[in-house]
Amino acid sequence: MTDLIYLAVIAVPVLVALILVFGNPDKNRTKISRIFFLVAIFVFTYLPIAVLIIFSFNEGRSTGVWEGFSFKWYKELFADERIMRSVITTIIVAFSSAIISTVFGTFASIGIFYMKKIPKNIILNVTNLPILNADIITGVSLLLLYNIIGIPLGYVSLILAHISFNLPYVILSIMPKLKQMDNNLYEAALDLGSTPMNALIKVVIPQIMPGIVSGFLLALTMSMDDFVISLFTSGAVVSTLSLEIYSMTKRGITPEINALSTIIFLIVLTVLIIANLKKSKTEEDTRKA
């Protein structure tokens, strides 16, 4: 019964606002309910993160009672060998798989772009598979593959798995740029005496560079965020940050995770702010020009 009362206290105003936000934008009640609704979603989004950040500075172990300010958990985090090792593993795996899949994916996209229509469609649909498929199935299926061809679980299997789910994202962010590209430039380069390979590197690749960069960044984030596929393909020895957090939640929670979350949140926030400032700046520049 009390559950229902609590639910009503939270859910009813949100539901009312949810209907009112679609009202006539000139009316005051629409404006107010829109603000209320956004604030409610905003609180829902940031409440857990805010609590994590606040309690990362807590003196005690509790995540419910404030016992005084300290940097204790940050110190313990940096002293924790397991976590630090998993951070390094994550960085190694993310960067190596992102770099390999970007280089490999760039050439693959150029090749796919110039394929005939039917094989092109087939290969693009195959490329979509890991994006559409559930992570757990990708993980399980790669495990079966490794079992059959005899790749032992470890760094190699983990990086191969990451490459295989990163490549589709790289290819899908480069393909639209290839479509927008002016193909005459490539032919002009050939007319002016360039070799095809040279023309490709000096003419085609610069034109699709934005796609390559965003493909790389996407691969990097996908790889860092992955948990399920890594769980199946990493084996017992290698552990990424996601796997480490998962095993921490099973072993029992220490506020070190809070400190870790705070640091990751700040990194994500800084990166996104920089990326978006840069983006709006280039947008303004293009508008001026």
Binding site: I49, T63, F104, L129, I136, V140, P168, L190, V268
Partner: protein, 373 residues
């Protein structure tokens, strides 16, 4: 007309290495899952004796991979069974599994036994080696076992239910959020959309864990409730907790595609609708809503598909009453790849069906990566 210089190679050759890679790493694994789901390993299998498979050759093979005859086990000796004379020899390797070998009339039967019901890692490879030669048969057993077992059916239906409820809640919260954001002034909406989508870029296990600290027995919500004199609630380890966190984790994936389609809506279409006499609600229901459907469809795909198999969330937040199919696959797969593969195939079919209804709505793939980088 000037002739173009002849190309010395086709540019499509660049794709060939990728084609090979895609066949090995994208297509073959899925075919393997299907293959495993339709087969079972033979635990007890017979090899008919002939001039190649003599008892000596078979024992020699076992010797070769490290098995030794173990006369200390009581069953070693000669037995009579069904009028046949069988001699039984136990072979074992370093305290791990035992092969009982029955030599009968022209036939040798292997029976694997495990101590403690567990395979040890170092012997696993040898067993695979033996089994890979002759040790599987085609069957629908895995699927039958799944559909005839009320427990696994319950888990399956529960996962669909949890995924469905969280997708509906995500849609109910996500569509208005995207709509309100898209109606804001450009400066504000650029900033706010980044703020709303930011958690998407944080590790999702950390986001899941964050809720745990909030709703735990000793968490902050209960601390606040108790300090104002209200009874503490036990919110953890329930289906509600799993759904709550699924909504939290997947909401950005619903907001983002809908927001992207809404801001791309052609303003002149809306103006035309007003000019032709439609009021605000008529425009909303007959113009905005239908035009936003591609975004809604990809939002639903991006929430429903991961939430059906998400197992970390139910494992961290849920209890025994909220075990999902993803959790079940992970648990089963370590012991029984064949059954686990069958479950994966069932999930794949389910997703193909749901995608069939939602596909073709979002062709350009604009929404991958949130269009944020």
């Amino acid at each position: 007309m000037s002739r173009l210089p002849k190309l010395r190679f086709k540019r499509s050759v660049f794709a060939y290495p990728y084609v090979v890679f895609a066949i090995v790493f994208l297509v073959a694994p899925l075919l393997l899952v299907v293959f495993y789901s339709l087969t079972r390993e033979i635990d007890n299998y017979s090899i008919y004796l002939d001039h190649e498979n003599t008892p000596e050759a078979i024992i020699g093979n076992l010797d070769f991979i490290g098995y030794e005859e173990d006369p200390t086990l009581s069953e070693t000796g000669t037995y009579y069974y069904d009028g046949e004379t069988l001699s039984v020899v136990n072979y074992r390797k370093s305290n791990a599994e035992v092969y009982k070998i029955y030599f009968g009339d022209g036939k040798v039967t292997f029976i694997e036994e495990y101590f403690g019901g567990e395979l040890f890692d170092d012997t696993l490879d040898d067993v695979k080696f033996l089994n890979r030669l002759t040790g599987f048969y085609f069957t629908f057993d895995n699927f039958e076992r799944f559909f005839s077992n009320p427990d696994s059916m319950k888990v399956f239906l529960r996962s669909i239910y949890i995924a469905f409820v969280s997708t509906v809640i995500c849609l109910l919260l996500g569509f208005p959020t995207a709509y309100v954001l898209s109606k804001m002034k450009e400066r504000w909406r650029n900033f706010l959309s980044v703020m709303f989508l930011l958690p998407m870029w944080m590790n999702f296990l950390l986001r899941t864990y964050a809720w745990r600290t909030l709703i735990e027995k000793t968490g902050i919500i209960n601390t606040i409730l108790e300090s104002v004199g209200l009874p503490a609630q036990s919110l953890m380890y329930t289906q509600g907790a799993v759904i709550l966190v699924m909504v939290y984790d997947f909401l950005p994936f619903m907001i983002m595609p809908i927001y992207n389609t809404l801001i791309k809506l052609d303003r002149s279409v809306l103006e035309a609708s007003h000019d032709l006499g439609a009021n605000h609600y008529q425009t909303l229901f007959t113009v905005v809503l239908p035009l936003s459907l591609p975004g809604v469809a990809s939002g639903i795909t991006m929430t429903f598909v991961p939430s059906i198999t998400a197992f970390a969330i139910s494992k961290i937040m849920g209890g025994t009453q909220s075990v999902t199919i993803g959790e079940e696959i992970e648990r089963v797969f370590n012991n029984d790849m064949w059954f686990g593969s069958a479950m994966s195939v069932i999930i794949m079919v389910l997703m193909l069906v749901s995608m069939f209804f939602l596909s073709g709505k979002d062709k350009d793939g604009d929404n991958i990566g949130g269009g944020m980088i």
